[in-house]
């Protein structure tokens, strides 16, 4: 509080998204939200809570299981002046809409001489409790590969709020990929909204010895790694990627020039993944400043298995980051006994 004016509020990523959408729907009657089970009792992990009650079934509705047509439906509605938000409970379901996304949405403005295509596509990604391989992909590099699409992955509550608002107000298709473990993560959300939230990386922890460039949930893992390493005299800088397209390589390069070491902690398969794009950018901009080759972390080269021991091994985590840093700095392995890392059974204990 300053002079009796509240400067920020603590809320979860779920609430930040929910409030951003509700506020935009209140502000702009052209905004509507739809998708499979958007208006059911579960409300997309609670992120669409209260919307159908406040805005009615014409502006918040569940749809037939027709991901492809419902995406084209959004395009048509957007072309005729509405501002749709299409929601997928899993990004894996969005694969059914790849034709509309890549052949129609992405290229419409180009063909139609800069025509506005204001549509937001929210896709939840997740992990844990035996999701297996059809409920656990991320695929941000697929979408970011195509010109004409903006792709964002907020990891903090403030970014979730600001990026969702900016996405809804943007006149282009924006894909917003949300990790459902982040929904429970609380964070400070300033009262002031960042109107340029759709682009730019953020240094979320300053450090001097190595840079971790983290995507989505990996920001949480990187911060945990930094906390552990700090106790052992290692200072880790953590960069939250936030936006996959457009990608802010300059902020990453500035960090790597400072630390001389880079680890890309992606949340996807490594081969032909976004981490390769980040690594190439680092090589192009910081070759002389690098003291070790860029390390890429991500999913194992397999499909996500159901059983917990294999699933845990499939995903990279804070421990993988710590071990990668030790290798780069040529340090002995820290004894991690007694350190408490995130596990699904214990859920996230925050604060972030």
């Amino acid at each position: 509080m300053r002079g009796g004016v509240r400067m920020s509020t603590v809320m979860t990523v779920r609430d930040a998204l929910n409030r951003a959408i509700a506020a935009e729907m209140r502000r702009d009657p052209r905004v509507f939200i739809y998708g499979i089970d958007v208006a059911d009792h579960k409300r997309i992990f609670g992120s669409s809570r209260g919307l159908v009650e406040e805005f009615g079934p014409d502006r918040c509705f569940s749809t037939p299981l027709s991901e492809d047509a419902m995406t084209g439906f959004g395009l048509g509605a957007a072309l005729n002046g509405l501002r749709p938000i299409h929601v997928h409970m899993r990004v894996d379901f969005m694969i059914l809409a790849m034709n509309q996304i890549t052949n129609m949405l992405a290229s419409f403005s180009y063909g139609a001489g800069g025509f506005k295509v204001p549509i937001v596509i929210r896709a939840v990604v997740g992990r844990g409790w035996g999701q297996s391989w059809q409920h656990s992909k991320t695929l941000h590099s697929w979408f970011a590969h195509v010109p004409g699409l903006k792709v964002v992955m907020p990891a903090r509550a403030r970014d979730a709020r600001d990026m969702m608002i900016a996405a809804i107000r943007d006149d282009n298709p924006v894909v917003c990929i949300e990790h459902r473990w982040l929904y429970d993560v609380p964070g400070e959300v300033p009262d002031e909204i960042d109107p340029n939230a759709l682009s730019g990386c953020r240094v979320v922890r300053e450090g001097t010895d190595a840079t971790v460039v983290a995507v989505s949930w990996m920001v949480v893992e990187a911060l945990k790694a930094a906390e552990v390493l700090e106790k052992h005299g290692v200072s880790l800088e953590v960069v939250d990627i936030r936006s996959i397209a457009p990608y802010d390589g300059d902020t990453v390069a500035a960090s790597v020039r400072k630390t001389g070491h880079a680890i890309v902690a992606d949340y996807d398969w490594v081969h032909c993944g976004f981490g390769a794009e980040v690594a190439t950018g680092i090589y192009e901009q910081c070759m002389g400043a690098l003291r070790s080759p860029v390390t890429r972390l991500g999913f194992a080269e397999a499909h996500c298995p159901c059983t917990r021991p294999l699933e845990n091994a499939y995903y990279a985590n804070a421990i993988d980051i710590i071990r990668a840093v030790e290798k780069k700095l040529d340090r002995a392995e820290i004894d991690l006994t007694g350190e408490e890392f995130y596990s699904y059974e214990k859920k996230f204990k925050g604060p972030f």
Binding site: D58, T63, P64, S66, D68, A69, M70, T71, G72, F73, G74, L75, G76, A77, A78, L79, N80, G81, L82, P84, N99, Q100, N103, M104, F108, S109, Y110, G111, A112, G113, G114, F115, K116, V117, P118, P147, G148, K150, D171, N172
Partner: protein
Amino acid sequence: MKDATIVNRHSRPGLSSVRPHAVPAVQLHECGPDGDAALQLDLYRKMYLIRAAELLIQKHYPEDEMKTPMHMSMGEEAIVVGICHALKPDDQVLGTYRSHGVYLAKTGETDRFFAEMYGRASGCSGGKAGSMHLFAPQAGLICTSAIVASHIPVAVGAAFANKVAGNGRVVAAFFGDGAIDEGAFWESLNMACLRKLPVLFVCQDNGFAVHTPAAERHGYRDIAAIVGQYDCTVFASDSTDVHALHGLAQDALRAMRKDERPCFLHLKYYRYLEHVGVFEDFNAGYRPRGEFEAWQSVDPLRLQRTRLASMILEEQIRDAEARIERQVQRSLEKAREAPFPEVSALCGGVFA
């Protein structure tokens, strides 16, 4: 058939699975007294514009200056003109890669059209889109698309926005019978019927998807009967008489307004030329020349010219034809002299 109206149905049940389409009996619908002459001339002019433009393309395409894959409308003129003329000017349409006819019927202009065929900056998409992707938003042509059925969901979304706006606009989606092989068609039909949206589904059935006849693609007998199970009104016709098709479109639009639900038109015609390109392909062996020759007896332009000859002077018809021929010739010459886009335009318009 419950919830469906099949009118003007000349063909025998089950015929849609038999190739080739039977040539419909010549039956010029009776026109009213003299007052109708203006309408009949308008319909003829619009069809003549399409035919004249395509004959000119046919003549000049071998010069290899129009570097875009041509999917010609010859044979379908009565359908697109009959329907577009029945629509209000601010009603909207979407088409396929075979949409010269739709573009010309909806806009009546040929300068931007020919410039686009020649890839010039003055084309309707600045030369970036070519023959398969035609846009004329000011004239109500939302887009045409080269992925079969991909524009149909866009039509449904556009109709949703029109319904929300309460502007009374109808959206007509033109597509071939190949599109009904695609899931996007069924997903779109379902959504439009579910939400009672003002969509006019226009199936232009030429019996082939590329070169494969319906009999080798359809595991059912009668598309109109199947669509009749949906909550929409169905009309079917194999007429090539533009006056009859115009009347059928008016009936369909009246039914849509009265019942506040979509309408599906199953309309048969004969594709005169090869799937892509400007030539005949009867030597390819998949359809005999005799079919084409038989359909010439019901050529839509010939039928309408015959009708007009009994209503106005031959000289008046020739005058109208000459004006159109001058228009398309001038447009072609202008296009050939127009500059190509600057290379700096390459990345413009990717985003709005």
